[in-house]
Amino acid sequence: MGASDGIELLGKPRGPGSDTMLGTPQYKRDRCVTGVHGLDEILRGGIPYGSTLLVGGTCGSGKTTLAMEFVVNGAAMGEATAYFAATEPSVKLLENVRQFSFFDMDMVDKGLLNVFDMDVTYSWLGLSKATFTMDDVNALVKAITDIVNTIGVTRLVIDSVTTLCYKIPNDQLIRDFLFTLGKTLATQGCTTMLIAEITSVGMSHGGGRSLWSSFGVEEAILDGIMVLGDIDRRGHLLRYLQVIKMRGTDHSRAKYAVELTPDGVMLTPMLKWGVDV
């Protein structure tokens, strides 16, 4: 076989679902277009439909704005969306997002954007207790998936999954909860963002443990991990976003600078000489 044969062979698709380094056409999963400025380019078209991803970030890094823009952009395209607020009351959350041009209260009135207070969901399920059992976790997964099913939700956010997981007593149960939730939502075609609060981002020194999540068990189970953090550039905090993992799509793994504008999140590649200043 000559060199030209080898190149020709690489250029041919190997069948449905195959990826080739150089070949075209490639199989591509349908994408959930986030509509967030720059993010769909980073993800080469958007989040693969039905994925469950972890959006981890430090405080003030823009997690809630990004997640809200994700659901609102879906609602603007006529999709039914849901946002479970566990860190702040829904009234306060909606008041905070009214400043952004992408938000329109009509979406809430028309039932395209459904915001739920997690505390109300707990009370409704009789889960007003400090620690959940396996049965409680299953009841919660069923309640969330029932809502998704009933409304026909295609975009879902749980903000944050960290506060929810604090009620789950061990890593195995957290793993089971996230796995079951992700699997059930995926079968319903729902693309989900789970917000995680983390204190620092990156790799821990010495231990080799990654710091993309709150409990360290979420990373392997979920389809994607996106982190938001801050870079200290000579005393000024510059927000950044990085996609660590996203199953089903080739994606950039570079750091992108984040700016919160009245139009929402905007992204641009972070200057390479400015990352470790």
Binding site: R233, H236, L238, T261, L267, T268, L271, W273, G274
Partner: protein
Amino acid sequence: MTEVTLNSSVQVRCGASNAFLVTASLIEPLITEFEMQGVYISASRGALELINTLNEIGVATENVHFIDCVSSALLGGTESTFPNISFIDSPIMLESILLRTLYHLNTIPADSKFVILDSVNALAIYNEDRMLAEYLHTLINTFRARDVLSVIMNVPDQTPPGVLANLDLYCTDLIDRGQVVIS
């Protein structure tokens, strides 16, 4: 300036003593003659002072959005009655300056838009040479790709040689307004 090509990037060299006059003589025809609207990135002086001085000599500034990279460092410097000024924490937040500029360009209704960066030598006070060269490369190409005229001001003898060499390479045009020597 008698002709404008939208996707071009013009390097404007001036002296320390004539910088304001050069600025005024550039911005005035863009607004009045070519009926353009745009964004002015002000790293040399506060936007409030700049607007007042331009207005005093009859240059209208309503259709220009000013990104002020200076005043946030002065406590109280961000109090302004002009709605067309936004403030950046520091000239070291280069990516924020770029994204804010893109945001404001998106809000401008005119077909012909410009961005004026005033100035490379002011940004060089705060930023390391390699980062500044990388930034200018990104900035110029970003606006060229969007058919936005970019005007990059600099005082050559106060600009690092490496940055200046890169600027010569990336810019499509050069206007040298030299130094006015007052004896």
